[in-house]
């Protein structure tokens, strides 16, 4: 049997509204995933460190204000740390212009308000599978 997907649900930047990320974390748990959950305001280097140490497949970033503007920096930092295989999704209030920039920067998917938990967990689970396939074999 496949081990459960491991997902990091976190927030970077300055905003602290975490109702959405908490609900998503619970929904992913209920879909059988292992969710590492953090309080808001994580530094980018902390997120990268957590992704590496916890060996996660997908990182979910909640952004209710404008913190998603920092996500391209996160994508670069993941690449530098050799974690290219980790998929990143962003959920929250993301204007369309910004969404295009995020996708260009390598974000796998942006979830807007109104996305159902079902939709989110199916997609995250699929991305986790992709990430596992992409990850370099170590043994």
């Amino acid at each position: 049997m496949q081990p459960p997907p491991r997902i990091l649900v976190t927030k970077i930047g300055l905003d602290g509204h975490d109702r959405g990320s908490r609900i998503v974390a619970t929904a992913l748990r209920d879909a059988g995933m292992e969710v590492i959950y953090t309080p808001p305001w994580q530094d980018i280097e902390t997120v990268v460190g957590l992704a590496r140490d916890e060996d996660v497949d997908v990182i979910g970033i909640g952004s209710l204000a404008t913190d998603h503007l920092l996500v391209p920096k996160l994508m670069d930092a993941l690449k530098d740390a050799g974690l290219d295989h980790v998929c990143v999704v962003v959920g929250g209030i993301v204007p369309e212009v910004d969404e295009r920039d995020l996708l260009t920067a390598g974000v796998s998917r942006v979830f807007h308000p109104g996305s159902s938990m079902q939709e989110i967990s199916v997609e995250v689970s699929r991305l986790a599978q992709c990430a596992r396939e992409q990850a370099p074999e170590i043994i």
């Binding site: 992913l28 748990r29 879909a31 969710v35 959950y37 953090t38 590496r52 060996d55 170590i138 043994i139």
Partner: protein, 310 residues
């Protein structure tokens, strides 16, 4: 990366591989068997277990201990085990939330594990994960059990020392004392000792620890306020002192019954994993018999064991 390179990097405590290697250990199976051959676990890594009921402040206490231990230039790995959902098998691993300030410190490694359905406070893979951490460059490995409020005896299999955390006026804790938690504990910590009723709880625990049944071991009871760092230096002194005494002493200084239980459980757990991973012909046949209703589980197991003179 060839196996030798991997082994070298692990020994050097290379973070870029540790996380992935631990997943291999956690998940077990054939890749783990291959990995096991590369490991060279150190004998001098102190394995310390932390258990206590929900809300007793285990994570916060460990967070404070990390700060103190880092001040004494010790390197630390933490394994924090959270419960898994009995319905979906998923888990929210939130214990490390309270330790995240140590995330950037190269001398600290924190890993969250889901219990993955195990009862008893650990996960099936926890033992394997500890083997990997012992092969890294850590002075101490701290294990935080699920903390279900039940008596989590499994930690005895893994840890050299077990710290039980209580809080003042908690009915659960008094129940736990009655159910023999002192037998597990090498040190009892009364956290949140600034709350009313702390002195009474400490007294009760000291009394329980001094019962005739427990005459061989006197369990120290230490107060702490983890959020403020109060009592932490004393606790660390105690942990480090007990650890070195235990190391210097001959094994029979320790409760021999405890060692026996621990070994038996370890063997059982390893045999279980091997059986789960194997595609043994005989097992398959026994399974068929059970499925066809021609044998009970108990009889099938007996048949298998008898053949191995067990």
């Amino acid at each position: 990366m060839n196996p030798q390179q991997l082994a070298d990097r692990l020994r050097a405590g290379d973070r870029s591989v540790l996380g992935r290697v631990i997943s291999v250990a956690e998940n077990g199976g054939e890749r783990w068997q291959r990995l096991l051959r590369l490991l060279s676990p150190a004998d001098d890594t102190a394995i310390i277990g932390f258990t206590g009921s929900p809300g007793s402040g285990k994570s916060t206490l460990i967070d404070a201990l990390i700060t103190e231990l880092r001040g004494r230039e010790k390197t630390i790995a933490v394994v924090a085990i959270d419960p898994s959902s009995p319905f979906s098998g998923g888990a929210v691993l939130g214990d490390r939330c309270r330790m995240n300030r140590h995330q950037g410190d190269p001398g600290v490694y924190i890993r969250s594990l889901s219990a993955r359905g195990s009862v008893g406070g650990l996960s099936a893979g926890a033992g394997r994960v500890v083997e990997v951490l012992k092969s890294g460059s850590f002075d101490l490995v701290l294990i935080e059990t699920v903390g279900s409020g039940q008596s989590e005896v499994d930690i005895l299999e893994l840890a050299d020392m077990c710290i039980v955390i209580c809080t003042p006026n908690s009915g659960d804790d008094i129940q736990a004392i009655k159910s023999g938690i002192c037998e597990i504990a090498d040190i009892l910590v009364v956290n949140k000792a600034d709350l009313a009723g702390a002195d009474r709880t400490i007294q009760q625990l000291i009394t329980a620890g001094n019962l005739p049944s427990n005459a061989a071991r006197k369990v120290p009871v230490l107060p702490a306020v983890a959020t403020q760092g109060t009592g932490i230096p004393v606790l660390v002194d105690r942990i480090l002192a007990q650890d070195s005494t235990a190391r210097a002493a001959t094994p029979d200084r320790k409760d021999s019954g405890r060692i026996h239980r621990r070994l038996a459980r370890t063997i059982a757990r390893d045999v279980e994993q091997q059986l789960l991973d194997s595609s043994d012909q005989e097992l398959t046949e026994l399974c068929d018999l059970i499925q066809r209703g021609q044998s009970s589980f108990k009889n099938a197991a007996l048949a298998w064991m008898t053949k191995r003179k067990l």
